[in-house]
Amino acid sequence: MIIDIAEEKLVVISDLHIGNPIYSCKRVLTSFIQQAMDEGFSVCLNGDGLDVVQSSFQKMAGEIPEVFGQFRQLRDRGLRGYYVIGNHDIILEHLLADWDFLILTPFLNLTSGGYRIRIEHSHLYDPAFAGHPHLYHLLTKMAGWVLDNWPGAFALWTEFERRRFNPGAGEPRLRGEPAAISQAAREILRRGFDWVIFGHTHHAGVVSMPESGHYLNTGSWLVRPTFARIVSGKVDLCEFQQIGGGKYCTITDAPVITGG
């Protein structure tokens, strides 16, 4: 299993939840991957790319061929597509392992421009998932039913998390995330990493840690199309913007979204 990789140009996206009842990212995602290919970036899908827990299989089947066809093109152009397993797609691991255009992995230790970067989904550090995995799975499934019938519940849930997990002044963590997530990032940074990139929580942002290193969360495309762009070890949190009615797309620098 490949966990140690070297890439000078890589973009990291997470939590697309393809098949989810509330959002279709096919159009913007295909534009994004096309642009990444044109600019010579490899692409890492950092967990929960597909959603089998809350999915409509009909919807998932409608979106998969086009999106993953592009990952095949990525490989044909000599670039690489990495798929880090998350908690919503772990059931599909056997299926994904057979898709030879994707490099399937539990996490990645990336070397870029001499910097060491950890890329991981981070569900293992979520106290709710780690402490009560069966209950977590059940509640997530039930939430899928709620979202199917009342899509507005997602925005309410996101706002609830932001209010519930509100870091104190100077506390190095992202708003909306349990403290355990940034603590896990610090624990990994102590092992000689410069950056830790997580997904899972859907709250995009960057935090500089007191000792050294940075923690970045790529957020979720259910909220907005944010991603991490890595060029020779330089890491930026960006937002994908479509220009000209989706005809012309560009990977632009968005203002860095900071924690808190």
Partner: protein
């Protein structure tokens, strides 16, 4: 055991009475795990090359580390598996060489015996 946070470390072993550098460990890599896992004396010497910062892990802290950072266990197993594979390959190569050499040595011995002297 030790995890290298910054810098690099040379691993030195005494082979036939001579100290030899057998490997260099770099940032993010670890050493001293055999002594920790098996409670045995260290089998090699580690020498820092320049400014080096290490994270020191004792046996109690090791379990805590694995709980807080489970991917570290995965990385450790992968590195140990890789080292085991290398040693296994070296062993196989040595056995193959020994098997190849045996008939040649036998032939050479037979020739020397046939000529009745030690001339080349």
């Amino acid at each position: 055991m030790f995890i290298i946070q910054q810098g690099e470390v040379a691993i030195i072993a005494t082979i036939n009475g001579v100290e030899k550098e057998i490997e260099t460990r770099r940032r993010g890599e670890f050493f001293g795990e055999m002594a920790l896992l098996e409670s045995l004396p260290r089998s090699a010497t580690a020498v820092a090359r320049g400014d080096t910062r290490l994270l020191v892990i004792q046996c109690g802290g090791f379990l805590q580390k694995l709980r807080r950072d489970p991917t570290f266990a995965f990385e450790m197993l992968q590195r140990l598996s890789s080292r085991f594979r290398k040693v296994h390959q070296q062993l196989m190569t040595m056995m193959e060489e020994r098997d190849r050499e045996t008939p040649e040595r036998q032939c050479a011995g037979m020739l020397i015996e046939f000529r009745g002297d030690d001339a080349p």
